[in-house]
């Protein structure tokens, strides 16, 4: 499966059980990444327009099919790592409060692609594509 995550400069994902940031341009890119249906948790739903094709599940990493694409906001990802054949990281290029960070060692993955684009509230978003 392909997993999408958003990270700050310290690979943080959340603080106090809440996302660090959001950006509607990033959400649009994620829908393009999905190519159809994006698997998300219930709390990720407000990030996307109402008519978006979402598969909403409490167990995103378990319920996303092998050829599916999911957006994960909460670590850990480690237990699902053997099923992840592509990891797409959206970097905010800012530092936010964090108490929950990505638990994958990205230096053990191969960076295949890196692109940049402006977000709606972030001057620069970096999109990185990793493979095991």
């Amino acid at each position: 499966m392909t997993v999408l995550v958003c990270l700050d400069d310290k690979n943080g994902m959340q603080f106090n059980g809440r996302r660090q940031s959001r950006d509607r341009v990033v959400s649009a890119h994620m829908l393009e990444d999905s190519g159809g249906v994006l698997y998300v948790s219930p709390r990720s739903v407000p990030l996307f327009p109402p008519e978006t094709a979402l598969a909403v599940t409490e167990n995103v990493l378990e319920d996303t099919p092998e050829d599916g694409v999911c957006f994960v906001e909460t670590p850990p990802l480690g237990p699902a790592a053997p099923r992840i054949h592509r990891l797409i990281v959206y970097r905010w290029n800012r530092v936010y409060p964090t108490d929950a960070a990505l638990d994958l060692q990205l230096d053990h993955w191969t960076l295949r692609e890196r692109t940049e684009f402006p977000g709606s509230s972030h001057p620069k978003i970096t999109r990185e594509v990793y493979e095991p």
Partner: protein
């Protein structure tokens, strides 16, 4: 809208609502690493803050602000406390909405000398200068520039590692949702010290009942490797064990700028374009705008120094 807080106490009425978990979140999605809840008021005590170890901030009050339901409003405002008899700032509070966020880059604030202010440089400090004029309410939130009631003497570490991350989080949330965040920053002074020990930072997103933003943290006004006398603002390298006999240098005349020696542009230090200057082309400069122009530099088009 601005108003002045003539009196404000962290003591607040305890709301009748029990601690039932973050509003709006399914039970399965309740954060595991912290305990959050509806607003219950309460009283902050500096005694509950652990001594600094190696984290720029620490959650207090289970990471739930001391606000009460009565504090919540969907009208934007900002308020500041008058300086006390020692010239120290008090609590600053805002309901941050898009309508009070800045539309222009920040101007110079070098004319303000917060209590305990000293201009002192160390090689081990990012940007050299130990102290920054720290906005209680970050400029990106309320657009308040050189207001002496909103600026404290804070270390670079407090400014960048302790406060900025929370300001970023609040600013992004407001910009993306057009909701409001009730936001309060309280400098914490011991006795008659002129430099704050730290700041209490609280945030709560109003329209979604704290689902988007909810934090209550204490950020330490420390700088790793440097010891500070909070009574005066004097400082010294911790490894030397004794205070410097004199301030490291006199207050420089003029304004602090960052130069790009390649493009020959000059910027305010907090200009986003200044962050992108490569180290070999970056130079810090304190002086007058006229001197820079005479040297062939031109002002940045973004921060317009």
């Amino acid at each position: 809208m601005k108003q002045t807080l003539m009196t404000w106490m962290l003591t607040a009425l305890v709301a009748a609502m029990p601690l039932t978990g973050c509003a709006g979140l399914p039970a399965a999605d309740q954060p595991q690493q912290t305990v959050s809840g509806d607003l219950v008021g309460g009283t902050f005590s500096a005694e509950e803050v652990p001594a600094y170890t190696d984290e720029a901030y620490v959650a207090v009050h289970d990471n739930v602000p001391y606000f009460t339901e009565g504090d919540l409003t969907t009208d934007s405002y900002e308020s500041y406390s008058p300086l006390d008899a020692l010239g120290r700032c008090g609590v600053a509070m805002a309901s941050v909405g898009q309508d009070i966020m800045p539309t222009e880059d920040r101007g110079s604030i070098s004319q303000v000398k917060p209590s305990g202010w000293q201009t002192v440089k160390y090689d081990i400090v990012d940007g050299k200068y130990l102290y920054n004029r720290c906005h209680l309410l970050g400029y990106q939130l309320t657009g308040e520039n050189a207001n002496e009631e909103n600026l404290i003497t804070g270390t670079r570490y407090l400014n960048i590692e302790g406060m900025l991350p929370f300001e970023n989080m609040v600013a992004d949330y407001v910009q993306e949702t057009d909701n409001h965040v009730l936001y309060r920053v309280t400098p914490v002074f011991t006795d008659t010290n002129l430099v704050a020990d730290g700041v209490l930072m609280e945030g709560w997103s109003v329209e979604d009942g704290g689902e988007g933003v909810c934090f209550c943290v204490y950020a330490y006004n420390v700088q790793p490797g440097i010891t500070i006398n909070y009574a005066t603002g004097d400082s010294w390298l911790s490894e030397e064990g004794t205070p410097a006999e004199e301030p490291a240098e006199e207050e420089p005349q003029g304004t602090a700028y960052v130069l790009n020696t390649n493009s020959m542009k000059f910027h305010y230090p907090d200009c986003s374009s200044a962050e992108d200057i490569s180290p070999e082309n970056r130079q810090e400069y304190t002086g007058t705008r006229e001197d820079l122009v005479a040297q062939g530099y031109s002002p940045c088009g973004r921060c317009k120094p």
